[in-house]
C-alpha cells in the first residue's frame, strides 16, 4: 500500500485505471465467467472427505433385514390411505404404538394467500403423526429425525412403510444415544413447517397448529425419505434448502460413503457421476450438474422436506429413490440398511455437524468446490462495479454533490424513492389486489396475482419519463452521474450481501446486471439500449433460468410452455415467501428491481 501513499505513483495508478477502465472491466467480466465455468473442471476441484471424526473411522455393521415386510406394509398403508381418503392417522398411530414408540399427533391448518394451482390446494388442513423412540439411559436432550411425507395418490407409500420397518428394527437395538423421531407429515412442506414451528414453538408464517405434546430435546440432524417404488435404480441426494441454505457437507459425504459401501447407485441433481473428466463430455456433464445446483440454490425454495429444517440449525438432506427402469436394481432392504448406517453414524455424533463446509457447490458427489474457490468468480464481477465507481467523472461529481447548496442530492433522491415505492407496490399489491382483479377480469386468483405482478413490473418502466421532469425540471449532467454513482454502490452492496448468503443467486444476478449497469449513460442510442436493458432485467433473468433449467434436466420446453412455467415460477416464489418465509421474492421486488429501475432512469435522463 506504499503505492497509494506515494502521491506521484498514485497518480500513475489512477491514471492507468482511468485510461484502461473499460478494458479492465471487460477482462474482469470474462475472467469471472471463465473462473466460474472452470469450477466444474475436475482437476480444479477437491475430492470430498469426511471431516467429522465421530463419523469417519467408526465401522457400522448394517443388519436391517425386513425390507420385504416393509413392502407388504406399504400395500397395507396404501389400502388404509385410500380408505381414509388422505392420511390414515389412526392406523399410523396404532402402527407406531405397536412398534413401541411414544406416539403423538399434531393437527394444523393453513389458508394460502391464493390458490396453489400446481398442487391444487387453497385451504390446507392436515395432521402430522410422529413417534419418538426413546433412547435408553438418555436424558432427552438430543434427537434425530427421520421423516417421510404422506403424499396423495400412490407416491411415497414405500417411504412411510420403510420408516415403520426401520422404527421396528431400531426399537430393538440398544445402542441409541439420541432419541429418534419418526415423522410422517401430511401436505409435504406445509406439514413439515407446521411440525417444526410446533416443535420450536415459533410462529413465523401465520400457520395454525395444535401444540406438540412430546419432544426430545434439540434436534441434531434430519433425513427425509422419498420412495415411490418397490425397487429403485438409484438414490438421489437433495441438499438445496430454503433460501439456498445447504446442510453441512459431511452429510453428503456420509450418504456417498454408504452408497459406495453398499453398492447403491447414487446421483446428485439426478445425474450419475462420470469418470472421464478429461473429455469434453465429461466436463460438460460436471458443468451441467453444477449449473443445476446453482439454479436450484438460486431460486431459494426448499427442494424437499429437509429444506425447512436448515433454518433451525438442523443439518438435513432428502434421499429420493429414483426408478428409471434400467437394469440395475436396489431393493428395499438395501435402502433400509443404507438409512440404518447413516442414522447410526449420526447417532455416534458427539457434537453437531460442524467440521465440514456449509458453503459449497457440487459438480459431482465425490467432488466439491468450497467457498474459497467460487467466491473469486463473483469477486471478479463485483469489482467491475467498484471500478466504475472510481471512474473519474463520477468520483469528482460526488464530492461536489455532497455540498449542501448543490441540488444534486435532491435530484438523486427523487428517482431513488420512486423506484423503491414501485418495488413496494410490486411486493404488496399482487396478493392484496387479487380480489379486485378477479372481479374485473376473467382470470383465476393465481393468474390475477401473477399478472398483477407482471403489470406492475412493466408499469415501472414508464416511470422515468414522468418523474424527474415533474419534480425537478431538467436533469443535469451532474445529476445522472450522482445517480449512477449511488446506484452502482447500492448494487455492489446488494449483490455482495446476497452472494454471501446465497452465492448462486448473487452470481446469476451479477452476470446479468453487471454489464449493462456498468456501461449505462444517457448518451446512448436509447431504443437499442432500452431493449438490451429490458432483456437483461431481473424478470427476464428468471425466464432464462427457467429455459436453462428445463434444458439441463433434459426436458426442453417450447416458448409457450416456457412462458407458462415462468408464470408458475412467479406464483411459486410468492407462495414460498408467504408459506415458508423464502426471501427471494422480497429481495427481488424490494431491492433488486428498484435498483435496476435506477439504472433505467439514467438511460432516460433528460
Amino acid at each position: 500500500m506504499g503505492l497509494l501513499s506515494d502521491p506521484s505513483r498514485r497518480k500513475v495508478l489512477t491514471g492507468l485505471l482511468t485510461r484502461l477502465n473499460t478494458p479492465i472491466c471487460i477482462v474482469c467480466y470474462l475472467a469471472g465467467i471463465v473462473w466460474f465455468m472452470g469450477l466444474a473442471f475436475e482437476p480444479f476441484t477437491l475430492r470430498t472427505y469426511m471431516s467429522e471424526n465421530a463419523m469417519g473411522s467408526t465401522m457400522v455393521e448394517e443388519r436391517f433385514s425386513s425390507g420385504e415386510r416393509a413392502l407388504s406394509l406399504a400395500k397395507e398403508f396404501d389400502a388404509h390411505k385410500r380408505k381414509a381418503g388422505g392420511m390414515p392417522v389412526e392406523w399410523l398411530v396404532k402402527a407406531m404404538q405397536s412398534r413401541g414408540l411414544e406416539v403423538f399427533t399434531q393437527s394444523f391448518s393453513r389458508k394460502l394467500p391464493f390458490p396453489d394451482e400446481n398442487k391444487e390446494r387453497y385451504m390446507v388442513r392436515g395432521t402430522n403423526v410422529y413417534g419418538i423412540l426413546r433412547a435408553p439411559r438418555a436424558p432427552r436432550t438430543e434427537a434425530l429425525v427421520i421423516t417421510a411425507p404422506c403424499s396423495p395418490g400412490n407416491t411415497n407409500n414405500q417411504a412411510v412403510a420403510l420408516l415403520l420397518a426401520l422404527a421396528q428394527y431400531f426399537r430393538n437395538q440398544i445402542y441409541w444415544a439420541k432419541d429418534i423421531i419418526f415423522l410422517v407429515n401430511e401436505h409435504d412442506l406445509i406439514g413439515t413447517q407446521a411440525w417444526l414451528e410446533g416443535y420450536h414453538h415459533t410462529n413465523i408464517t401465520g400457520m395454525e397448529y395444535s401444540p406438540l405434546q412430546g419432544r426430545a430435546g434439540s434436534i441434531q440432524a434430519a433425513l427425509s425419505l422419498e420412495l415411490s417404488s418397490d425397487v429403485i435404480t438409484s438414490l438421489d441426494l437433495v441438499l438445496e434448502g430454503l433460501n439456498g441454505q445447504l446442510p453441512n457437507l459431511d452429510l453428503a459425504n456420509l450418504f456417498y460413503a454408504f452408497c459406495q459401501k453398499l453398492g447403491v447407485l447414487c446421483t446428485i441433481q439426478g445425474k450419475l457421476q462420470r469418470n472421464d473428466w478429461d473429455t469434453a463430455e465429461g466436463y460438460t456433464h460436471a458443468a451441467q450438474t453444477m449449473m443445476l445446483m446453482v439454479l436450484k440454490q438460486a431460486c431459494g425454495r426448499s427442494w424437499g422436506d429437509h429444506g425447512l429444517f436448515l433454518r433451525y440449525h438442523i443439518e438435513a438432506a432428502s434421499v429420493r429413490g429414483i426408478n428409471s427402469f434400467r437394469h440395475y436394481k436396489t431393493d428395499a432392504t438395501t435402502i433400509g440398511r443404507l438409512l440404518e448406517g447413516m442414522v447410526r453414524k449420526l447417532n455416534n455424533l458427539l457434537e453437531r455437524l460442524h467440521q465440514s463446509y456449509f458453503f459449497y457447490l457440487l459438480p459431482s458427489l465425490s467432488r466439491f468446490v468450497s467457498i474459497g474457490y467460487y467466491m473469486p468468480a463473483f469477486g471478479l464481477l463485483a469489482v467491475i462495479l467498484l471500478l466504475r465507481v472510481s471512474f473519474p467523472g463520477l468520483c469528482h461529481c460526488f464530492s461536489v454533490s455532497l455540498q449542501p447548496s448543490s441540488p444534486g442530492v435532491l435530484t438523486v433522491l427523487t428517482p431513488v424513492v420512486i423506484s423503491h415505492l414501485t418495488g413496494v407496490a410490486l411486493y404488496l399489491l399482487p396478493v392484496h389486489l387479487q380480489e379486485m382483479a378477479v372481479e374485473h377480469f376473467p382470470v383465476s386468483e393465481t393468474e390475477a396475482v401473477v399478472l398483477t405482478a407482471i403489470a406492475i413490473y412493466t408499469a415501472g418502466l414508464a416511470l422515468p419519463h414522468n418523474t424527474q421532469r415533474l419534480l425537478s425540471g431538467e436533469g443535469t449532467e451532474q445529476g445522472w452521474k450522482v445517480l449512477k454513482l449511488t446506484a452502482l454502490l447500492y448494487l455492489a452492496v446488494l449483490l455482495g450481501c446476497t452472494a454471501l448468503i446465497n452465492f448462486s443467486l448473487g452470481f446469476i444476478l451479477a452476470v446479468t446486471l453487471v454489464p449493462i449497469t456498468a456501461s449505462i449513460t444517457p448518451h446512448m442510442p436509447k431504443a437499442l439500449y432500452a431493449l438490451v436493458m429490458v432483456l437483461l432485467s431481473p424478470a427476464f433473468t428468471i425466464l432464462y433460468c427457467v429455459f436453462i433449467y428445463q434444458e439441463l434436466i433434459e426436458a426442453p420446453v417450447s416458448v409457450s410452455e416456457g412462458w407458462m412455467l415462468f408464470l408458475s415460477v412467479i406464483s411459486q416464489g410468492i407462495l414460498d415467501h408467504a408459506l415458508y418465509g423464502s426471501l427471494v421474492y422480497p429481495l427481488l421486488a424490494l431491492f433488486i428491481y428498484p435498483c435496476w429501475l435506477m439504472f433505467w432512469n439514467i438511460l432516460f435522463w433528460n
Binding site: 413401541g100 439411559r137 414453538h201 415459533t202
Partner: protein, 557 residues
C-alpha cells in the same frame, strides 16, 4: 481387666441398636417395562449433633461417610447419580425421584461459619468417594433454594443460608460410580440383595439411578433418642421389549443374571416385594407366596406379594402387558427451548395438573447458568390461557461467571389444567477459553424442580411405624389427604454462539492482514495530507543560515 470388659460391654450395648435393612421392590410398569427399586437402610445410633462428641467407632455405617459428616458438620446429605430420564407419562411416579446427571444437596449445621468453604471441600471429598466429577460443582452452579428443598430429617431448619444445591446434568454414570456405592453396604455385594447388582445388567436398562441419602431421624415414636439414617437406593427400569424378544415374562435371573440365595447376615430384615396391584389374577408368581402386603405409596394403595429372604427363593413372574396409552399422572412437567437462531430463545416449562377437580399449589425451582441471560421481565405464567399470578417469587439474578440465576415460584395449578411458564433469554458470547472442549455439542441447563403436595386418592398414613416397607416411608407424611411429590423436568441442551475453533490460523491471518494492510493504509490515506517535500538544503547552507540567524542577517534561501 474390669475396665476393659465394661468398655466392651458398653460398646456392644451401644452398637446393638445399629440396624441394617434391605429391600427390593419389583413393579411391572404400565408400559410393559419392569421397575426394580433397591433400598438399603443403615441406622447408626449415635448423636454427634451435640458439641464435642467425637465418634470413632463404626459398625455398620460406612466410616468414609461418617467422617465426612462429622468433619464438615453436615446435617443432611442427598446425592444421586442418574443415567436416563424418568418417563413419568409411561412409568408413573418413581419412589424417589432424581434428575438426569448428578444432584447434590446438603444442609449444614447452623454452627458452620464458612458454608461455602465447607461446601467446596465437601464436594471434592465426595467426588473422591463416589469416583464422580462432583468437583465441577462450584459457585457458578450452586444455588440456595429458599423453599424447594426442606430438610427431610429431624429438626426444622429453615434458614436456607445453610443449604447448598447443585446439579451436574452432564455427569455420566457408569460402573465406576456403582462400585464405590456398593462398598458402602455392610455386606458389600457379597450377600443379600446386593448380589443382584451386576453392572453389565444394571447398565443394560432404560433407566438407572443410584442415590445416597443421609439424615438424622428419631429412633422411636417419642423421639427420645436420635440416630443417623443412611439410605442407599438404586432404581433400574428394564426394557422388556429389547431384551425379551416380545415375551412378557421375566425372572430375577433374566434381569440381573443372578438369583437370590440368602439375606445379608447383618440385616435385620431382607424382603422382596412384587407389586401385583394391577390385575392380580393375571399374574402368575413362582414360587407363590402366601404373604400379601399392602402399602400406601404416592397416594395410591398397592398390594404386594412379599418374599422374606429367610427362605431362599427365586421368583419368576409372568405378566401380560397392556401396551400403548400414556399414563396421566396427577402432576407432570416438561421443559423445552423455543425459538431459533443463536441470539435469543425462550425457556418453556409446562406443568400439568391432571386432577379432575382439585387445584393445588406447586413450587417451581429453576436454576439457569449465567451464560443464558434471562430477561426476567418477560416471565409469564399462564394457565388455561389466563394469566396466573404466582403467590411467591424468589428471584436471584445471575452474576456473570460467579453465580447462576435462581427462580423459585409458588404457582397455584387449577384443576385439570396445563400451566405454562415462559421466560426469554439471550445467549452470552463466552470468552474463548471458557468454551468446553466440545463447544458445538451445546451447553446444559439443569432440570427444573417441581415440588408439590398432591391431593391423595387414599388416606396417607401419618404415624411412623417401623414395620412399614422402606419405599413408602422415605418422605415424612404430615397430613392424611396429600402426599409429597417432586418432579424433575428434562435438562436442556442449548447451543451458544460458537467461534470456529478449527481454523484459528486462518482467522488470525485474515484479521491481521485486514487490520495491518487494509485498515492501516486506508487510515493513513484518509488522515494524512500529502505534499511535495522540498529537498533539504546541504549542510554548508544550513550552517551558514545558523550563523546568519545569530547575526540577525536575512537567511539564505
Amino acid at each position: 481387666m474390669l475396665i476393659l470388659s465394661s468398655l466392651l460391654l458398653f460398646i456392644l450395648l451401644a452398637a446393638a441398636r445399629d440396624e441394617f435393612q434391605e429391600e427390593l421392590v419389583i413393579r411391572p410398569l404400565h408400559s410393559g417395562d419392569i421397575y426394580a427399586s433397591f433400598q438399603f437402610r443403615t441406622l447408626w445410633d449415635t448423636d454427634f449433633l451435640q458439641e464435642g462428641q467425637k465418634v470413632s467407632h463404626y459398625r455398620l455405617f460406612p466410616k468414609s461417610l461418617g467422617q465426612v459428616l462429622s468433619k464438615f458438620s453436615v446435617r443432611e446429605l442427598h446425592i444421586s447419580f442418574t443415567q436416563g430420564f424418568w418417563r413419568t407419562m409411561q412409568w408413573g411416579q418413581p419412589f424417589i425421584p432424581s434428575p438426569p446427571g448428578a444432584e447434590l444437596w446438603v444442609w449444614f449445621h447452623d454452627t458452620v461459619s464458612d458454608v461455602d468453604g465447607n461446601w467446596k471441600e465437601l464436594t471434592n471429598v465426595l467426588s473422591g468417594i463416589f469416583c464422580a466429577s462432583l468437583n465441577f460443582i462450584d459457585l457458578t452452579n450452586t444455588v440456595q433454594p429458599s423453599a424447594s428443598f426442606k430438610p427431610l430429617g429431624l429438626g426444622n431448619a429453615t434458614d436456607h443460608r445453610f443449604l447448598r444445591y447443585a446439579t451436574l446434568p452432564r455427569e455420566i454414570v457408569c460402573t465406576e460410580n456403582l462400585t464405590p456405592w456398593k462398598k458402602l453396604l455392610p455386606c458389600g455385594s457379597k450377600a443379600g440383595l446386593a448380589v443382584l447388582m451386576k453392572s453389565e445388567k444394571l447398565f443394560h436398562s432404560s433407566f438407572h439411578s443410584q442415590a445416597v441419602h443421609i439424615r438424622p431421624i428419631c429412633q422411636d415414636e417419642q423421639c427420645s433418642s436420635k440416630a443417623w439414617e443412611l439410605r442407599q437406593t438404586l432404581n433400574v427400569v428394564f426394557d422388556l421389549h429389547t431384551s425379551g424378544q416380545g415375551k412378557k415374562e421375566w425372572s430375577l435371573f433374566k434381569m440381573f443374571s443372578r438369583t437370590l440365595t440368602e439375606a445379608c447376615p447383618l440385616a435385620s430384615s431382607s424382603k422382596v416385594y412384587v407389586d401385583i396391584t394391577d390385575n392380580p389374577e393375571l399374574f402368575e408368581l413362582s414360587p407363590a407366596t402366601p404373604l400379601l402386603g399392602q402399602a400406601v405409596v404416592l397416594g395410591d394403595r398397592r398390594t404386594y406379594s412379599v418374599y422374606d429372604l429367610i427362605m431362599p427363593t427365586s421368583s419368576m413372574v409372568l405378566s401380560p402387558c397392556a401396551l400403548g396409552d400414556m399414563l396421566r399422572p396427577l402432576l407432570h412437567a416438561e421443559r423445552y427451548v423455543a425459538g431459533f437462531g443463536l441470539q435469543t430463545g425462550e425457556i418453556h416449562t409446562v406443568i400439568y395438573n391432571n386432577h379432575p377437580y382439585r387445584a393445588f399449589p406447586v413450587l417451581l425451582m429453576d436454576s439457569v447458568p449465567w451464560y443464558l441471560q434471562l430477561y426476567i421481565h418477560t416471565l409469564t405464567v399462564t394457565s388455561k390461557s389466563r394469566d396466573n399470578k404466582p403467590s411467591y417469587i424468589h428471584y436471584q439474578p445471575a452474576k456473570d461467571r460467579h453465580r447462576p440465576h435462581l427462580l423459585e415460584m409458588l404457582i397455584q395449578l387449577p384443576p385439570h389444567s396445563m400451566t405454562e411458564v415462559t421466560v426469554q433469554f439471550e445467549r452470552a458470547l463466552l470468552k474463548w477459553t471458557e468454551y468446553t472442549p466440545d463447544p458445538n455439542h451445546g451447553f446444559y441447563v439443569g432440570s427444573s424442580v417441581v415440588s408439590a403436595l398432591v391431593p391423595s386418592m387414599v388416606a396417607m398414613r401419618t404415624n411412623f411405624t417401623q414395620d412399614q416397607p422402606l419405599f413408602s416411608s422415605f418422605v415424612p407424611v404430615k397430613e392424611e389427604s396429600s402426599y409429597f411429590v417432586r418432579v424433575y423436568t428434562e435438562p436442556l441442551l442449548v447451543n451458544l454462539p460458537t467461534p470456529d475453533f478449527s481454523m484459528p490460523y486462518n482467522v488470525i491471518c485474515l484479521t491481521c492482514t485486514v487490520v495491518a494492510v487494509g485498515y492501516g493504509s486506508f487510515y493513513n490515506l484518509l488522515t494524512r495530507t500529502f505534499q511535495v517535500d522540498e529537498p533539504s538544503p546541504p549542510l554548508s547552507k544550513r550552517l551558514a543560515n545558523l550563523i546568519r540567524r545569530m547575526r540577525g542577517v536575512p537567511l539564505l534561501t
